[in-house]
């Protein structure tokens, strides 16, 4: 619209006005057209999961149109939701994610506060170090970590490998650096006057954090929480390496190792499992999309 108002002032108003607005209209149409294409591309796998999950195995292997459900059935859902194994995976995933989110917040919020506000010896280096840690991928660390945990078991007699709680030690290496990093950004954007006033009034550093910083930076905190949850819910490599017995598996690994038997793919159940496994992050995202996006872009676009 702004381009239209500008052109009104331009010397060749009448001619240009018409062409600009027609251009604009076409630009809009093209935008919607391509956005629709991209949206179809984006939603294709989730929708196909849903379609397949509603089919019976007979219909899946029939040569009918795969994009349509002719005889919708809930048998896959019933089958999975009544199987102890699947519920066990779901429960393990939920347990791991909730603990990891809590641990992550307990570690990263105070650390981010200290790094953002309390300049101390080495704080700048540490902040950079946190960011660098965030760039170290899981696929670089899984082998040494596996060996480290195996050695730990040999030395102390405490077996951590193949217990679901081993993941509580490992996942924070993925979530803490990122959450600390975005919380530093959020804390840094809080005006200095606020905490200076609190300190003058006699608040301790800890009180300043809990009474002022956490409430004010709540959107950032929510974003960080969503991230920690999404990362720990979706993690695949670490549970694949560190857990093997069926009762210790989390959802992604559980679905892949138990529902695929040899070369036999029970696609109806696999897709139902995948959909149920994808549901928690998607539901959270549906309600808290703005926080999610704010968190995603926080690190990069601030400043």
């Amino acid at each position: 619209m702004s381009s239209v108002t500008i052109d009104k002032a331009a010397p060749t108003r009448t001619v240009k006005y018409g062409s600009m607005s027609r251009d604009r209209k076409w630009a809009l149409r093209w935008s919607y057209f391509f956005l629709t294409l991209f949206a179809v591309f984006s939603l294709l796998p989730p929708i196909y999961m849903l379609i397949t999950s509603l089919k019976s195995s007979a219909e899946i292997s029939a040569a009918t149109n795969p994009w349509w459900v002719f005889q919708p059935t809930l048998e896959n859902y019933v089958g999975l939701l009544t199987s102890n194994q699947f519920l066990r995976f779901f429960w393990n995933s939920a347990l791991v994610s909730i603990f990891v989110v809590t641990i992550t917040m307990l570690i990263s919020v105070p650390a981010a506060f200290a790094l953002a506000r309390m300049r101390f010896w080495g704080s700048a280096t540490l902040a950079t170090g946190v960011f660098l840690t965030y760039l170290i991928p899981d696929s670089l660390l899984f082998i040494p970590l596996f060996k480290v945990f195996a050695l730990f078991g040999d030395w102390t007699g405490i077996q951590l490998i193949n217990r679901w709680y081993v993941l509580l030690f490992i996942y924070p290496t993925l979530t803490v650096p990122f959450c600390t990093w975005i919380m530093i950004g959020y804390f840094a954007s809080i005006p200095k006057e606020l905490d200076e006033a609190a300190i003058i009034d006699g608040a301790s550093w800890f009180q300043t954090l809990t009474r002022i910083f956490i409430p004010v930076a709540l959107p950032g905190l929510i974003a960080a929480t969503i991230f920690a949850f999404t990362v720990s819910w979706a993690q695949f490599l670490y549970p694949l390496v560190f857990t093997t017995s069926t009762d210790q598996l989390v959802l992604p690994v559980g679905i892949i190792t138990t529902l695929i038997k040899g070369d036999v793919f029970n696609w109806g159940q696999i897709m139902t499992g995948a959909l149920l496994g994808a549901a928690p992050p998607l539901i959270i995202y549906a309600f808290l999309m703005d926080y999610y996006i704010a968190g995603l872009t926080a690190g990069a676009t601030k400043g």
Partner: protein, 312 residues
């Protein structure tokens, strides 16, 4: 005084009554409080990231049973194997192609979203971000099913256009294509959302000024948008390069490296050798090859991040 603050143990040597008050004082001191607050973070990074990272250097110099030091033997062995060079080539093809397409699609889609009226944008953004939110292991399963050789929904659809069944994950070239396609599907929304955020931060006056000067659509992108977005484009691309290069789940679930190792990348091959083949040292050596590329990308990103820090 600073010594006392950093070493609470020494305070413990004092008399009980005094100890308490001086401990309290020490806790109130800024540096002590800050140190304590960051301590869990420091321990976590040191014990579970830095130590394993260096430990993997040590592991890479051991023989298969991990009892003998063999120096660079593992690397020598890798260099002599064709599969290794195949993996190097594939990792590079995979990462570079995927990142290029993600960046391109992200840029285009961000423009389209930015183009439409503000009140409809939320809905589109929401739909377009779904791939990024879905756990990759779950969505890759859906792709695997879409690509299925005999009941594939894609091949069924293509058969209407007279295009014969495509061996999506069975043929080397198609398998590479499929893996990249899924990665682009998964990662493009990230670029889209980053670019959209930075598009919104470009002041409208710049476009108005450009329009008055008679700049056309292409010139506006080239002379206004791109320079303004340069930093974000650089950071996002480098960041995505790291993540894509180190990708594991998509390749593992879709092809597991096959057919005949033609889609293995560093992460999946390291898993195959190190965990499945229980040759931990060799697996560690394979994954170490990711380090130089990660380091280069990290240095560039860090330069940008620090620049930004100085400007703020």
């Amino acid at each position: 005084m600073a010594d006392v603050a950093l070493q609470p143990d020494r305070v413990g040597a004092a008399q009980p009554a005094r100890k308490r008050s001086s401990l309290q004082k020490a806790l109130k001191r800024k540096s002590t409080a800050a140190f304590l607050m960051t301590l869990p973070l420091i321990i976590l990074i040191t014990v579970l990231v830095l130590y394993p990272a260096f430990y993997s250097l040590h592991l890479a110099t051991l023989n298969k049973s991990m009892q003998r030091f063999i120096g660079l033997g593992n690397f020598e062995f890798l260099f002599k194997r064709d599969t290794f060079w195949l993996v190097v080539k594939q990792s590079c093809i995979f990462a570079i192609t995927a990142v290029l397409f993600k960046a391109l699609i992200g840029f285009i889609v961000a423009h389209f979203v930015h183009n439409i009226p503000a009140k409809g944008q939320r809905k589109w953004r929401g739909m377009l971000l779904v791939p990024w939110v879905t756990p990759p292991a779950m969505s890759t399963l859906a792709w695997l099913w879409l690509f299925d050789p005999s009941y594939s929904a894609f091949n069924y659809t293509l058969s209407f256009f007279g295009i014969g069944p495509i061996p999506w994950t069975g043929d080397a070239a198609w398998a590479r294509f499929s893996v990249i396609l899924v990665n682009v599907w998964y990662g493009a929304p990230f670029f889209m959302i980053m670019y959209l955020a930075s598009l919104k931060s470009v002041p409208d006056q710049l476009y108005e000024a450009a329009a008055i000067d008679g700049a056309n659509w292409w010139q506006r992108i080239w002379y206004v948008t791109l320079p303004m977005m340069r930093n974000i484009i650089a950071i996002t691309t480098l960041f995505s390069l790291i993540v894509t290069f180190a990708n594991f789940d998509i390749v593992r679930i879709l092809t597991a490296g096959g057919p005949l190792d033609h889609t293995h990348i560093f992460a999946t091959w390291a898993f195959r050798i190190g965990i499945e083949g229980s040759d931990i040292p060799l697996g560690a050596s394979v994954s170490l090859f990711m380090v130089p590329i990660l380091a280069i990308a990290a240095i560039f990103i860090l330069r940008d991040v620090n620049k930004r820090g100085n400007e703020a």
